[in-house]
Structures are given as structure tokens and as C-alpha cells.
């Protein structure tokens, strides 16, 4: 897997093996904490994998908002002289709360939990999960895991046809 910093015009890939490992870790986090939902997103807001209750909200919109929220606060951290982004963001609601952390440069973790779950539990287990996720991401990078090429020549013409059909040109 390519886990280099994602910048404009570059691509990032996540293999099936790593996807399964990540899903296993966040599922363990969900079970350990009693959180409602755990989302693993790419830092530009692409939802990657999620466990728990996810049908109650728009996954893609939430991922985009969380990722851009995190990026904005990282900029604020820089303005305050911090070398790195803030470690986490915590938003407390009356019914549900959000705990957002980064995993290196390329991914973020969003934990949604209800009032009956203590913040301390979320913090402890999320920290543990982040260590495990970072280890798996690093391992994939060290192994130089190769991903299969998805974008072949045929894809472009089929995509064009699908756009014509979907957008009804």
C-alpha cells in the first residue's frame, strides 16, 4: 500500500488485507467501549470502513465534515506553534458525542458514542486502537504491499457511457 502523504493529484490505495485488519481493529474498539459507531476515513474525507450503527446518518457527508474539521484545527495548531495537529477533537452533545483522532497523515478515526459511555473509556481504548492501526499501516508500507490496478483502458470508455446514462445526455 502506498501510505505516503497524500497531496494534490496523488493517489492512495488500501489493500483488501489491510481493509480487513482495520475493520477488525475498529470492531474491537466498538465492542470494548460500547460506542455506537466507529468510522475509519481517509484524511480527505473518503469513508473507508465503519462498524456499528451507520444507517442513521449520511456516512459520506459525516466523513467529509469530520475530515475537513480536523484539517481546519490542524491549521489552527500550526498557528499556535504546534509542530503537529491536535491529538484529538471532542464534541460533546446531549445525546451523542464525537471523538475524532488522526492516524498519521492519511487517515482519521471517528468514534460516535452516547451519554451512557464515559469519555475516559473512549480515550483509553481509542488510543490503544490508534497504536494498533498505525502499526498495521506501517507494516503494509514496509511490506510494499502491491494493489491490483483498477483503472484500465476499458474503464474510461465505460465510465463515459455510464455518465451519459446516469446524467441522461
Amino acid at each position: 500500500m502506498d501510505v505516503a502523504n497524500l497531496s494534490t493529484g496523488q493517489s492512495l490505495m488500501l489493500s483488501e488485507k489491510l481493509f480487513n485488519k482495520v475493520t477488525e481493529i475498529i470492531n474491537q474498539l466498538l465492542v470494548s467501549t460500547g460506542a455506537k459507531t466507529v468510522l475509519f476515513c481517509e484524511s480527505n474525507g473518503y469513508a473507508v470502513t465503519q462498524v456499528g450503527a451507520v444507517r442513521e446518518f449520511d456516512l459520506h457527508a459525516l466523513s467529509s465534515l469530520a475530515a475537513n474539521n480536523f484539517s481546519a484545527t490542524a491549521k489552527m495548531a500550526g498557528m499556535l506553534g504546534e509542530d503537529d495537529s491536535f491529538k484529538y477533537l471532542y464534541h460533546e452533545g446531549e445525546k451523542a458525542s464525537l471523538y475524532i483522532s488522526n492516524i498519521g497523515f492519511n487517515f482519521i478515526l471517528i468514534v460516535i458514542f452516547e451519554v451512557d459511555v464515559a469519555l475516559g473509556i473512549i480515550r483509553i481504548f481509542t488510543k490503544k486502537a490508534i497504536v494498533e492501526l498505525a502499526k498495521e499501516l506501517q507494516k503494509a508500507q514496509d511490506e510494499g504491499e502491491q494493489t491490483r490496478q483498477l483503472l484500465d483502458k476499458e474503464f474510461k470508455s465505460l465510465l463515459s457511457q455510464e455518465l451519459d446514462r446516469s446524467l441522461k445526455f
Partner: protein, 194 residues
């Protein structure tokens, strides 16, 4: 671009850039209204009290599977006003293609130019340039009476001779062809790089 092999998802990011009130949000609103519910996410708008874009607008367009692959396009707008430059930089992170929405009105030429130069400055900081990056220019508000001619707009704004469209985002005229062409240019660019 982000590829999730397990789910066979290919994700792209397209940003609508341009000066304040040029029609970026209106582009997204038209696209969102046009699409079938099964093809789109919620349209997220983060506005000021005056209904101007504060941070960004967002929606995702998802197409049916193509050879088993699911293409998804995350569409963003940036806030156009000059003082939101940090927000624009954040939104540009990881962008695959840019639609520059210019305001065709004669009085808005300098704002168009300022925004275009702001875009180029940001791209250069990210190691790119408009000369090579996939982008399209949209001359919007062609229905108004005080608009500049296409020749003048092309000369003053489209110095890299990228693809251009004449649009009326409020009615949707040429909004979808702009999006389709943008997507094709991104895919072509990826083929070239591969």
C-alpha cells in the same frame, strides 16, 4: 484519488473554485437536485448568516458499478471571498480536478483574475500548476446583459487554453457537460500518468 480495493471503490475529488458569488454553490445545487436519490449523498452547506459559503459545500456522486468497480466523486466548493484563503487551501488538499467558475459580468473581471492567481499560487505550493493540472474554466451567468464577450474572457483568463464552457448555473445550462468533461479529463490524466 483514493482506491479502496476491498470495496472496489475509486474515489475522486473535484473542487469548484472561483470568486465570491460566481455560482459555485449553484452548480452543486443544480447537480444535487438533478440526480436520482440513489446516486448522491446529502448536500452539505456550511454558510454564514448571510447565506454565503463559510467553509465549503459538499456532495458525493456515486455511479453504478463499472466492471465491478464503484466510481465515486466528491464534489466541493470553496468560499470565494479573499479572506478565506486558508479554508481554500484545506479544501484543495488531495484534489484531482478543478472547475474554475468565472463570473462573466464585465465588472467582475478583476475578481476572476485574483481568484485564478490565488488558485495557481495554491497549486504551486502543492507542487502543481494550472499548466498541467486537470482543470476546466466555466464562464457563468451568460444570461445576464452586462457580460464580457467570450473572446475577451478567453484572452484574459484562459491563458493555458484549457477546456471552457458557457454556463447559466441557475438554469443548469452546461452544468452537467462541465462535470462530465471534468471527470473525463481526470481519468485521461491518470491514464497518462499510469
Amino acid at each position: 484519488m483514493f482506491i479502496n480495493h476491498a470495496l472496489q471503490e475509486i474515489n475522486f475529488k473535484i473542487v469548484y473554485y472561483g470568486p465570491g458569488l460566481s455560482g459555485k454553490t449553484t452548480n452543486l445545487e443544480f447537480i444535487h437536485n438533478y440526480l436520482h436519490p440513489s446516486m448522491k449523498s446529502e448536500l452539505v452547506t456550511l454558510n454564514t448568516r448571510e447565506e454565503r459559503t463559510l467553509y465549503f459545500d459538499f456532495m458525493q456522486l456515486h455511479l453504478d458499478r463499472i466492471n465491478g468497480k464503484k466510481p465515486r466523486f466528491n464534489l466541493y466548493t470553496v468560499p470565494g471571498q479573499v479572506y478565506y484563503r486558508f479554508s481554500r487551501k484545506i479544501i484543495l488538499k488531495g484534489v484531482d480536478g478543478i472547475v474554475f467558475v468565472a463570473d462573466s459580468q464585465k465588472a467582475r473581471m478583476s475578481e476572476n483574475l485574483d481568484s485564478l492567481l490565488d488558485l495557481e499560487t495554491n497549486l504551486i505550493e502543492m507542487g502543481h500548476t494550472l499548466q498541467t493540472f486537470p482543470w476546466i474554466i466555466q464562464y457563468n451567468k451568460r444570461d445576464l446583459h452586462n457580460v464580457e464577450t467570450i473572446n475577451v474572457l478567453q484572452t484574459k483568463l484562459n491563458f493555458f487554453r484549457t477546456t471552457h464552457f458557457e454556463t447559466v448555473a441557475t438554469t443548469g445550462a452546461n452544468v452537467l457537460p462541465t462535470l462530465k468533461t471534468m471527470i473525463n479529463e481526470i481519468i485521461t490524466k491518470i491514464e497518462v500518468l499510469a
